[in-house]
Structures are given as C-alpha cells and as structure tokens.
Symmetry: D2
Subunit: 363 residues, 4 copies
C-alpha cells in the first residue's frame, strides 16, 4: 500500500527555522511512515502557477537545518481568499480565488496540508479548513504574537540579532557620550523590543502596547546625564507610538515621522537630540532581523514542531496547530489558538521586572 501524500507550504514573512520545519516534516514522514511530501513554492502562489509544486525527498532537505530562509520560498500577498490581480492597464483588483485553490489542491490528491506561517497565514489556514481542506498548522513568527503557544521559532534568532546590535551600541555609546536609538521590528507586539531591550541593557524601551510621551523619554535621558551617565540606549519598536496628548505629537500629528528619517526610531532620535542637547544616532536593523541561520533554540523547536505536525498529518488530526506548553509539544484547535492575538501585558511580570531595573517605558 502506498504511503500518504502530505503537502507543505510556508507563508508570510521570513523567519529563521522554516527550513528546519520542512526538514523535520520530510524526514519524519518519509523515514517513519513512507509518506510522499509535496512542497508548494512561494506561499500559496505555488498552487496557481505551473511547476509551483514538487516532491521533496530526503536529498532535498540535506544540510538545510542551519540555514535561514525557506527552500520553498514564501510570499506575503498570496491569500487565496483575497488575491491581488494586476490588470494590463495597471489597476489592481482583489479577487477570491479560493475555489480555484481548492480545485488545484484536489488535483494534488493530498491527504493533508501542513501550513507553516504567522498569524495571517494561519487565519487563511483556518478558512481553508472550513472549506474542507485537511490542514495542520505550524506557528511561526519573529514577533511572538501568535496565541496558543508559549513561543514560536524565529523569535529567539531575531532576539539574538537585536541584542547583539544593542551590545555593540553599548560600547560605542559609553565612549562617546551619546544617545543611541535602535528601531526594531514589531508593528503590533513589543515582545522582541522588550526582551532585547532588557537583555541588551537599554535605558528606555518603547513598545506598541505602551504609548509614550516624548517628554518622559527626554526626562530619562536627561536624568541619566545629570547622574553622570552621559550615554543612553533606546530600544524602539517600529510600532511604538506617542500618546494622543503628547505635545510633540499633538502639534505635528503623524507628520512627526515624516520630516525626520522616516520611522519612529528616527523621530525619537531627532527629538531626544534636540531636547537633551546630545548627539543622537539611529540604527534601523530592518530585515536583518528576519535573516540568518536559526539559533539552536529555534532549530530545536522548529524540528519538534515539524515532527509533531508530520505525526498529526499521518494520524489525520486536522484543523489543529502544534504549540509549546511548559517544554512539551502539544496541539490545539487552530480556532482556539487564533482567538486572541498575543500582546505584551503592560502590567505583567516582565514589564514590572524591567521597570524595577530602572528602565523607562516613556509613560
């Protein structure tokens, strides 16, 4: 009897550990269950283009464990329920191509489809499941904003990259008496900035969950200077935002970001430089945070997720997402995992611990 056919797709923004998931799925399903694995290229796009799917063999996954990126490619825009189509005249329409997607999927005759992605991709997975697709979800995010799981792979690697940048700024800020701002990823969730800020010894941490006042930020920098610490390190989420009543913001509105270097990091550097009469510099790490080989933590977690997803697929347990709880791999209904997005609790222990160390959140 032939083994099962399992599809695998990686969607959404890049995160270190995707290749480790793919490898674990392929090895676990082929070695242990004699399954066939079909890889879908470039997110869900692969189902709509000729040659967008291919069998994955043990040979295909050799040596990919420590490598960043995904051998399948990924895409941010391939939502089959709302796909952007560009007409010859340049106009863009959004169309629901989920029926075609299901037909293409049927043609592949898969017994299960493993979908690896962040919050957005997993919501698509849930919709596909409701249309009858036999999905297994694997959470992935450098923001750590997926519910239902303690943590997902990608976060630890991004955290290492961000903390290393803070470490490097520390030495040079100390020698030079400067304010150093680092803008980090995180539109809606501040886990990466909070964690990197504490681990990298930041003095100010600005995150989306805690709107800030420019005035408080400047006060902290000035206080430090008056106590003899002539440098300050500020870790700022790209999604950090001043409070409505902030005088700088009340005056300039969203334009506070515009005349300056473009992002909130640059705006903070600009305001701090002026108010505190100090040199302020900004670093924008950008996509560097999504790249690089995964840390051992992320390799380990991604491998266990991939193996668990393969076992769920072989055992026909669909509509579920693998997750980490108290060091154990569990699985739970996708719908439950996605019910509430994960955010930093402004009153939780981690923020309280950071405040106890003297760190300002600008509030």
């Amino acid at each position: 009897m032939a083994g099962k056919r399992i599809g695998i797709v990686t969607g959404g923004g890049d995160a270190p550990g995707l290749n480790a998931v793919i490898r674990a799925v392929v090895k676990t399903a082929i070695i242990g269950h004699g399954a066939q694995i079909i890889g879908i290229a470039d997110g869900f796009d692969g189902l709509f283009v000729p040659g967008g799917t291919r069998p994955l063999t043990l040979e295909d996954v050799r040596g990919i464990l420590p490598r960043g990126g995904t051998i399948l490619g990924t895409a941010n825009r391939g939502n089959p329920f709302a796909q952007k189509v560009t007409a010859p005249d340049g106009t863009i329409t959004v169309v629901d191509r989920s029926d075609q997607f299901m037909r293409e999927l049927d043609a592949l005759a898969l017994d299960a489809l493993i979908i690896v992605g962040g919050d957005g991709t997993l919501r698509i997975a849930l919709e596909l499941e409701r249309k009858g697709c036999r999905v297994v979800g694997v959470p992935k995010t450098i923001d750590n904003d997926v519910g239902g799981t303690e943590i997902t792979f990608g976060f630890d690697t991004a955290l290492n990259t961000a903390t290393e940048a803070l470490d490097k700024l520390h030495t040079t800020a100390e020698s030079h008496h400067r304010a150093m701002v680092v803008e980090l990823m995180g539109r809606d969730a501040g886990f990466l900035t909070l964690n990197a800020g504490v681990s990298g010894g930041a003095d100010v941490i600005l995150i989306p969950e805690i709107p800030f006042l420019f005035e408080s930020v400047c006060r902290k920098v000035t206080e430090r200077a008056s106590r003899g610490s002539k440098f300050s390190i500020l870790a700022v989420s790209e999604g950090a935002h001043p409070r409505g009543e902030d005088p700088v913001y009340a005056k300039a509105g969203d334009a506070v970001y515009v005349p300056r270097l473009g992002g909130i990091g640059a705006a903070v550097a600009d305001v701090v430089g002026e108010c505190c009469k100090t040199e302020a510099r900004v670093t924008v790490l950008g996509h560097v945070q999504r790249g690089g080989g995964p840390t051992p933590f992320d390799r380990w977690l991604a491998t266990r997720y991939g193996a668990a997803a393969a076992r769920l697929a072989m055992g026909s347990a669909f509509g579920r997402m693998v997750a980490l709880r108290n060091s154990a791999i569990i699985d739970l209904p996708l719908a439950e995992a996605l019910a509430v997005p994960k955010r930093v609790d402004p009153d939780g222990e981690p923020v309280m611990t950071a405040r106890g160390l003297g760190i300002s959140f600008g509030d």
Copy 2:
C-alpha cells in the same frame, strides 16, 4: 527606617548568566526597596575568610549583564556541612562547619540570603534553611538537571557553544569523509547533548540515560557509509556509558576509557575508527561550555530570576526557589524542586522526535 540587608552567594560550577542574576538582585532591591546587598565571595568560602564579604552597589553591577563568570567568584568545594580541610601534613579531613557558618551569617545580620546554584548548592541551601537560615534559591545549571523548573539559565549558552562546534565539524566532516566525535558536558543528564545533537545535525547521540552498545554505534556509521554518506557526526555526553553486556565493555571494563584518550568521547572515536575503517577524530570542548557571555535568552531568564528572588527576599518568602513554568516566573518550595532530579526521558517526545529523524542512540 533603614532598608533590609540581603546577602547573595553564587555556588557550584560556572554558568553564563550568574552576573545577570547578581545585577538584577542589586538593582531591584536597591532601586525599588532601598535595600543593602552584601555579596559573599567564592561560594560559601567567603564567610570563612577575612574580607570575604562586601556591599554591592549599583556601580558594582554596571556593565556586567553581558559578561560570563561571576563577579563574586564561585567554588565547588565550599559545602559548610562537609568542608575539606587540609592539614599541614597534607592529609585532608572533611568537617562540618555549618555551625560556624551560621554564626558568621548571624554576624552579618542579613534579613535574607539569596543562594544561586545548581542541584548541589541548592541542597546545601535546603539544609541551611532547616538550620534557620532565611534562604531564597535561584536555580542555575548548564545541564538543565534541576527539578521544578522548565529550564534554567546557562543551558542555552552552553547549547549555543556546543551546537556551533557541531556545525563547524559538519562542514569539515563532509569534505573529508570522516567520523567526528564531540564530547560534551553532562555527567548524569543528557539534555545538552540531546539538544545540541539534534540542533547540530548529529547522526548518533549518546547520553547517560540511554546506555549504548558500541556495535550499534558502528552499525549506524557503516550504514551511512554504505548509503553514500561518508561522514558521521557523533555527539557524546561525558557521562554516556556502554551497557554492561556490550562486548567491548565486557572485555575491557572501565579500562575501555583508559588506554584511549581518556574520556568516553575518545573511546568512541577509537572504536569507531577501528570497526568502520574510517578516520575518526575527537573534540573535547570541556570548560569552554561553561564560559562566554550569556545568550539573550539566558540574560532575560537570569534577570527575571534575580528580580523575582529580590522580591521574595523583600517579601520574606523563604525556603523557596524561583522557577520558570509556561513562560511565567513562579516560585515553589526548595524541597519540592529538589525532590526528583531532572533527567532525559528515554521514551519522551524529544527522544522519539530524534529517532524519527533517523538519529541513533546506540541502543
């Protein structure tokens, strides 16, 4: 009213993150509670020697967050209940100096003593508590063998060091058609080797919890060679041990380790080299695994542990150990944490996952 006086001591083998704990205790207790912190040098030894204790100020902990080691020093042998004393003629006696220890401690007039250490040090903490000392425990181990907590700091850094070594051997083993053995720390618990082995793409993992057969190890290496993979990577815990009925061991006994390079890693390299007619080389990482600056994960965890321990000490919650459970910092009775030492479950999901990837445990 003057603040409380809190003592802090670091004991046992080195682990990256000790300085982060000390810093968090000092900052949290001084900034938030106006406490005084007394550091005890060189494990418990500091209480027995003149000048062995000193106040720790905010200035003392500046810049130590990313640094390995401990500014207090540590010592493996300073158990006050069983202290080695060397007489002038060289003979060594073991004496119980716990009464003197308690007197010295009384003289310091501490409101609480925070003890940071591994299984051994925490057992001393428990005995001290039974003698009336107001202790708070903070778990520390690169082996991850302390019960009651999901994980402790030091492990992640050691894991990074070990995995990096495996990564490097991978490239050179591939080019050279060799068997590469890495001996890693872990006398009783194989977490570090299991995790590094999976994360570093090892083909064979030998750990204390799963006694092995040299024959099985050689079979795995030979099988790989016969399938065209001319190299193999073997990750071996220093505490890995052949089964009693193993023919090599049955013949040579513990001497199997002796004529060879000294450790089990070298013994494995030696036997594999002979049986599989291949070049086999050994790397002994040794104390490199205990050194280096802590990873962000370990800094974050150590900082939260230190802050939580300071809060327990200020709140007079004694006889307890801080711990991590499902991403939250909790505390539990020391006695409960130490009741059962943590070991790799030979039938658990992580080992099953590793086997599913085709990794041999030599059994």
Copy 3:
C-alpha cells in the same frame, strides 16, 4: 632612577581595538621599562578639565583586551587648535586653545604623548609635534582611510559586522524576492563597503570613489530578475553619490536624499523599488559598525601597535606613526603617512576582481 612618564590619549570616532592599544602600551611600558602612564580622558578634552588625567596601572587594563570602546573615552570635537566654545547665549565660537593645551601638557611633565586616532586626530598630532610636543601616533579607523599603513585596527571588526548583516539579508532576500539595501559607513572611502560587499555576496556596490547612475543600478536589478534571480543585495556607502548627469539627481539635486528616508541607502531603495517594480527595503547599520569587541585580527594588530608605540616612546623616536607593512610593524614620519589620504582605486585589482565576479558599481 624613576622611569619615564608617557601620556596616552584616544581621539576621534570609536573603533574596536582602542582598549587593546591602551593595554599594550601600559603593560609594555610598565613591565618592561618601569614607566608611568598617564591617561587623558575624552580625547584632548581631558587636558582642559579638572580630573581629566589619571595614572593608568596594570590593574586598570585587566580584562579590557576583548572589549569595545575605550576606557579613556573619546570625543570628536576636541581639536585644541579649533575648539568649539558655547557662550551662555548659545552662540558657538571656534577658538585656538593650543597654547593652553601645551601649558597643560607641560604641567604633566610627560616624556612622550601617544596619540591614537584617525586621519583627523593624527593631523592634530602633527600640528602638536610642530609646536614641540613629543608625539607618537597610532592609526585607528574603521574606514581604512589612513595612509602609510596597509591597514589599521577597527576595520576588520566593522567588516565582520557589515558582512554579517549582508549574510542575514541574503537568506531572507532569497525567500522573499526582494531588493535589500544596506547603508554602511564610509563618507570618503569605500573600503568597508567594497570589502563587505564582495565578502557578503552583494550584487551592487556603491562607493564614494565611483559616482553612480541610478539607471545602471536599476538595470542590474532588472537583469538579475530577468535571469530568474528575483532578489538583489545592494551595499551602499553613506558617502556614495550619483553622478552629476544622473537624471534622477539632475532633477532632484541633493533633495534626492530628503523626501526619502534621509540617507543615500534609503534613496537607492526608493528609486529601485519604483523602477524595478519590486519590494525594496533598507537597513541602516549606523554606529553598530563602530561597536562590539574587536576581532582577533584587530586585537593582534592593536596590541602590536600599542607595544611598538610604547617602544618608540621609550626610545624617544618622536613625530612618527606605527604602521603595518607586509606583516611587519614599522614606523614612519607622521607627515609622510598623512601626505595622501587612502582611497579605493577605481582601476585597482580589488575593484577589477569584483567586476569580474559580475558585481555592478552602478557606473
């Protein structure tokens, strides 16, 4: 007989390895010659403020070898020949305080002054020498733009940081079909960008020495896309500049930098994104490139420089700069070293080699 008194000062922008120089000077001069070392704080500023100088002992330099920054502090603006003075009303005047500087220096009764700095600081050293100061120069720069020496410390560390960022972007660019721009340090000299670009596998390298055309840059990205490589990596010096006749530049002038994210990196990302109909993202590494512990190469070179400078100071060989030539430490007149600033040769072997690999310089 008392030993000599040697002063040491570090000036200009930060560069990893400054502490290694200080340590080598102190150890070599004290251990071998019984000298006294006087450290001057915060660049030349330390001579103008009370408490701005202090003896440096062996204890002061313990453990600083692997640390970034400088224990002496540094300052960009402390040119004694042209010092900015801010009046109470906020107006800034530039005054020549070199006579006061010489008097302060005389008061210290130094036998020699070791000045560690980049092109700017070393030019001040030359002026001081002409005023009678017994200087020994040590070149330092992350830009590698100091003449007279093959290379100086700081460059290799900055190169590692920059290349690591390129490596990380590589993995994520491949998965995502994007153009990734990294803006690197280098106002006048493109060594860092050239070297990091080649080492990090960039497709386009833009440096100050080779003015570029936006059109050529876009053509390269488009060509790659048409050959199936949907991603491109662009390494851009902060001092890279479009040619005068460039149509984008001719139209917008220097404003090409303004409405965009502020720097040339952002301008390139912006133009490429529009022209090539691709997602383009920018990373601005900023001062991260000046920070971090020095690489072994930089520690080794900085140590040898420091030791050689100490020997020159003890041997009363003044007005000279230490340098590296063909793996040997030499010394040459400061004036000779500073005669011609070092720049990338647009027709030299390194650029030719890069072109031969298919890299575009946008010209």
Copy 4:
C-alpha cells in the same frame, strides 16, 4: 572559438575559504572569459575514479561563498606520486601513479589546472609541473606555514575559533581559580597558537618553534597565583614539545604524553595541576578549527586568490602561485614559494611583543 578548459582541484586538510576560491575561479573564468571549468572531486583521487570529474557552472557555485568545506571534497592521501594502495589481503603498498595521473589529465584536455592546497599539495603541484602539467597554485592553510605569501585564507577563521574558545575559558577560569589549557592545531608552525594566545589573553604560550620546560610553565602559574591571580590560561600547539633536558621529559620521554590524556595539552594540564596544586582542565578543539564558514577576511582573500588564479590560467602563466604582499595580490614561481617553509621567528617582533606583555613561552 570555444573558450579554454580549466581544471580545479582542492587538496589537503580542510580550510574555510575553499568554496570562495572555487566560486571566484568559476565566476571569473566563465563570466569574463567564456571558459569551461572542470572540477576534480576528492583531491587528486577524482582523476582515478569514474565520475570523479564534472563541469562546474555558475549555478553550481551559487550560495557557496559563506560556506565552510569544499564542494569538491578533498583528501589527505591522494598524492599521485605516492599513493597508498590496499591489497585484498589488507597490505598497503605505496605506488607512483603519476604517469596514469598525467594520462587521465591529458584525456580531460585541460588548458590549465588550478591546484588549491597547503604545503604538501603545492609540492605535488610542483612535481606535476615538472612533468609538464600546466599548473597554477593557490595557497591554503590554517597554520599559515606556506612561504612566499604574507598570509593565506583559512588562518583568520581558525584564529577566530581558537580565540573565542580562549575568551570563554577566561570568564570561567576567573570565577573558578583554575588553570585552563587549550590545545590548538599546529604541528610544525605556532602562528595560530601565538596569535590566538595573544588575542585571547593567554598567560603561557607553547609553540613548536620554542621548546619549553615544564618547570618554567609551572613557575609562571605559581607566580601569578602568588600575585593574587588565581587563574592562568595556557595556549598550547599540538606540536609544542619539552626540551630534551626537561626533567619531566628526561624521566618519562615521549611517554609523558601517553599515560595522560593523549596530547601535549593534556600532559601540560596534568603536570601543572600536580606542581601548582591547582585544578587544571584541558580543552582539545580539534577539527572544529578547520570548520565553519570563512570570516570576511578569508572570503575576501580567497575570492581575490581565485580570481587571480583564473586570470593566470587564462593568461597561460603556469608554474606560479598567487600570494598576498602588502595588501596586493601578486604571483611568484611555485618553487620559490616552497623553498623555505614559514615558521614563527623566536626572536621576531611578534614574540618580543608577547614577552613584553608578560606572556611566558615556557623557555
């Protein structure tokens, strides 16, 4: 007219940067000259086995720049002039198969053969040239023992790995009052140990070029302890050797290595532990030093070597080796480069500098 046919082979021990050379040769020769490249697998062995050669395309070298190892494989024993042949009965004979080698080479109709290797491999290259083979040599060694060039690729990466290990031991040695010994590669040349020792802050450096006395080594460790530094770091080349008159050696002879952990590192740890009444531990880094991705320095140098070798091959300049002199890529006759092997000068500036810092060479 068809382009030229260029062969390339990598021989000897592994060194990070081999892939960068291969990539630069392939890209330079194909893009610039329309050449065909033939890769020979597993050192010279590839010429003797079916399927041991294959064309290398631009696609084959994509993404290999940052990777350790060599996509061609390498082999230590494949000297065509003295090849080990194992008879069915297990006896090994050494035979000269260079005539067969030349015939196989003729059959490939190569216009040139680029040979990348260390001292041993380059000597074979020289012999092949004398037999009429049109060779171009590229030096490669982690030991830096090839003459005619300032440095070769591989050394800087190995130096980073070794220094990082020393850095890690430093933190843990400080906390624990221990002597830590690291055994590093280098049978005949001590460059790696000297450089890593100085860069990693070692207290004792033992290299092949300076035979040592156990007594001097112990004296240094004891002196440090008596001055309050309770730890010492010792960097030991695998080829370091006690002097003939050393009492420990005079008594035990080469057996000094045997009852101990096998290598000189373990022997030093053993003797120091006994004499200095301290805990002494050994780390044997082994092949970890040959692995890992190349540093930017090594990628840059390897790339320039590869491009220069391709240009020499296209220009029919045979019997020559590429080299680095004062930052420039040059080429010189192979015979000249190999005339004198490179060794650490016991009286040179680097050793003098190290001594001036207080480092003992045990002599």
